[in-house]
């Protein structure tokens, strides 16, 4: 019975926007980094957030990590709005439940301390009930979960390889008993041969520790390998979202189609769809209404220049924000 109910949302954003003011007093302009974004992350779920650089992926992660406040809109965690968490206790609790793992394992660990330092500090701050001996024991446990030998707690960061350091990052996050880990490009700085190990670790954290992960990446193939759902961002908007296999096999938004055709895949014949694209960046500074992808879109119609498309469900659980796909699904199909 309970299996048929939809999974409870762990975290939900509603119409979140984040604008940045740029320019000087003579030319005040607004950069719309994230514009009207709503999505949800369930329990025990890996959601991949993909898109080109500048599409707003990291801004979303920073809003969820409470580094930035949304310009408007609200983020709900376990049903509670983040803006209501004003006390130090609430904020500490939230940052323990939603920790972040960073892109660069070489600069995100303090080089002058042993690697246990970060893990123990997290434990001391967020789980004050533990004694010093229990903290050490817990640090050993999380190291084992992420595939590191507990002896490594005594090492210095320079003694570890990039892959091992990134595992330390996950161990630090895991020590706080998180519900959701925000992982911002956690494997992009690592060598190809060890990336898979980290992706397997993320799947293990989901399956065995019950942690949800927001996996931010520009690598669609790795997203498919590990994630349950995919959110494709373009110019601060969600272009398309849905179960990852469904999005990859039936992409409805022309941008998703362009993105997929550009993924290098030695097992596929060379596609020609991307060859005409000269990839101008979208205009996110003071944007006028209309679809921001229309300058690059082979299917753009008049409506696209006037009305900003909103997400609409086109297949079960699979939404796209595209006028053409919403009105005449046949045309999009012909394009793929």
């Amino acid at each position: 019975m309970t299996d048929e109910l939809p999974r409870a949302d762990l975290l939900r954003t509603e119409h979140v926007r984040r604008y940045f003011k740029i320019g000087n007093t003579l030319s005040r302009r607004t950069l719309h980094a994230v514009d009207d974004v709503s999505f949800a992350i369930g329990e025990r779920e890996i959601v991949a957030l993909a898109g080109e650089s500048g599409s707003g992926k990291s801004t979303i992660a920073r809003m969820l990590a409470q580094v930035y406040r949304p310009t408007s809109g609200e983020v709900y965690f376990e049903g509670k709005p983040l803006s209501s968490m004003t006390s130090r206790r609430d904020r500490l609790r939230y940052s323990a439940l939603v920790p972040m793992v960073f892109q660069d394992p070489f600069s995100s660990i303090n080089p002058v301390f042993r690697v246990q330092h970060g893990v123990l500090r997290c434990l001391k701050l967020h789980r004050p009930s533990l004694s010093a001996a229990q903290r050490l024991e817990e640090a050993g446990r999380v190291f084992e979960v992420v595939g590191l030998n507990p002896d490594m707690l005594q090492r210095f960061p320079y003694e570890l390889s990039g892959g091992q350091r990134q595992r330390v990052g996950f161990a630090q996050a895991l020590a706080m008993r998180p519900k959701l880990i925000l992982a911002d490009e956690p494997v992009s700085m690592l060598d190809v041969s060890i990336r898979i190990g980290l992706l397997n670790l993320m799947a293990k954290l989901r399956d065995e520790e019950g942690v949800s992960i927001l996996y931010i990446t520009h690598d669609i193939a790795s997203a498919r390998y590990v994630a349950d759902r995919l959110i494709v961002m373009y110019a601060g908007h969600i272009a398309e979202t849905g179960p990852i296999e469904d999005v990859l096999t039936h992409p409805r938004h022309p941008y998703t189609q362009l993105l997929l055709s550009a993924v290098p895949d030695p097992r596929a014949p060379l596609s020609v769809a991307a060859e005409t694209d000269r990839g101008e960046p979208p205009r996110v500074i003071d944007p006028a209404p209309g679809c921001l992808f229309r300058w690059r879109c082979p299917l753009a119609i008049d409506t696209c220049a006037q009305v900003t498309p909103v997400l609409a469900e086109l297949r079960p659980g699979h939404d796209a924000a595209c006028h053409v796909a919403q009105n005449s699904p046949e045309e999009v199909k012909a394009f793929t």
Binding site: E52, S53, S161, G162, G163, Q164, D191, V192, S193, I194, R195, I196, G197, L199, N200, H218, D219, I220, A221, S222, R224, Y225, E245, L248, L258, L259, L260, S261, A262, V263, P264, D265, P266, R267, A268, L270, A274, E275, D277, R278, G279, E280, P281
Partner: protein, 320 residues
């Protein structure tokens, strides 16, 4: 046209010499696209710098020759090299963001490059600069733009335009696409290939991402721990990888097509070049390793038209 033979590069350090490139030989013919792949620290960038003779202390060429159009570049003075650099051989660096001068316009930087390697009038320089920018699909008005006014893809394309100023015979590229997203990356690769077909220059392309060059390179050189692990025709390396490391690399890439299969990657980490393992350097990470792999250092063996550094391929105990 380019023949690298027995090239070794040492980093001379207080704690002893580290051999970053060990006895590497390869050739690149006119109009050929040679891909070099390997993990970080495998010596691929050092190899490129040695080919371009750009090594700075503590790195020095310890042995071997780099013969480019009949001249051995090793040991030439900067003056002698300067006559051929940029005119016959140019280099596109990894990050255009850092390789372009942020306080000079694109046009001014093109002018510097042309003045440094020849005598030209102002009009000639402007005309040629506009021409090469058009070749890479950028509007010549951007000659007056500063690097920060261009997108990452445009910056990288203008670097390639700069390398085209003298229509060289050889263009060396060190991960030129690694800072770009996939869409810009693909269009840049297609553009490089188009230019190559139009002008017939050879390309040596270094990357850590094997799948990126699968459709573009003619031959593929796989480096591991400073040595050539495998060298063969790209398509055949992808269809029938001979070295266990190449196999592992290919299996480390998830695909967006076909069934979702669990992947293992390659266990362990690449070796520290100051303490290379005895015998075969890949042995500690290799699932096919046998006893003699720890004792004997494998040579590069010819096999099915390719070269592979694996003892078990040589004696035939590992079937393909």
């Amino acid at each position: 046209m380019l023949e690298v033979s027995g090239l070794s590069v040492d980093y001379i350090l207080d704690r002893g010499n580290v051999r970053a490139v060990d006895d590497v030989s390869f050739t690149a013919g006119r109009g050929e696209f040679l891909g070099i792949v390997g993990e970080s620290g495998c010596g691929k960038s050092t190899l490129l710098f040695a080919v371009a003779q750009l090594l700075a202390p503590p790195a020095t060429v310890a042995a071997g020759t780099v013969t480019f159009e009949g001249t051995n570049l090793v040991g030439l003075t900067d003056e002698q090299l300067s006559a051929m650099r940029w005119r016959d051989m140019s280099l596109v660096m990894q990050s255009a963001m850092n390789a372009l001068n942020p306080v000079k316009t694109i046009g001014a930087q093109f002018k510097d490059a042309m003045r440094a390697h020849g005598k030209f009038t102002g009009e000639e320089i402007t005309a040629r600069s506009a021409e090469v920018l058009k070749m890479v699909g950028i509007d010549p008005v951007h000659l007056r733009s500063y690097p920060f006014q261009l997108s990452g893809g445009m910056r990288q394309r203008s670097m390639i335009a700069m390398a085209m100023l003298f229509t060289p015979d050889l263009v060396i590229m060190d991960e030129p696409t690694s800072a770009l997203d996939v869409v810009a990356q693909r269009s840049l690769m297609v553009q490089i290939k188009e230019l190559q077909q139009a002008f017939g220059f050879a390309v040596i392309f270094v990357t850590h991402d094997m799948s990126l060059i699968s459709h573009f390179s003619d031959r593929l050189l796989v480096m591991y721990a400073g040595q050539v692990a495998e060298l063969g025709v790209t398509k055949e390396v992808f269809d029938r990888p001979l070295h266990p490391y190449t196999q592992g690399l290919l299996e480390a890439f998830p695909s967006i097509r076909g069934p979702r299969v669990p992947l293992k990657g390659i266990p362990g980490n690449p070796p520290d070049l100051s303490h290379v393992p005895s015998g075969c350097r890949f042995r500690p990470r290799c699932s096919y390793a046998i006893e003699k792999c720890a004792e004997l250092e494998p040579d590069l063996y010819p096999m099915d038209g390719a070269l592979v550094r694996c003892l078990r391929r040589e004696d035939g105990s590992l079937a393909s």
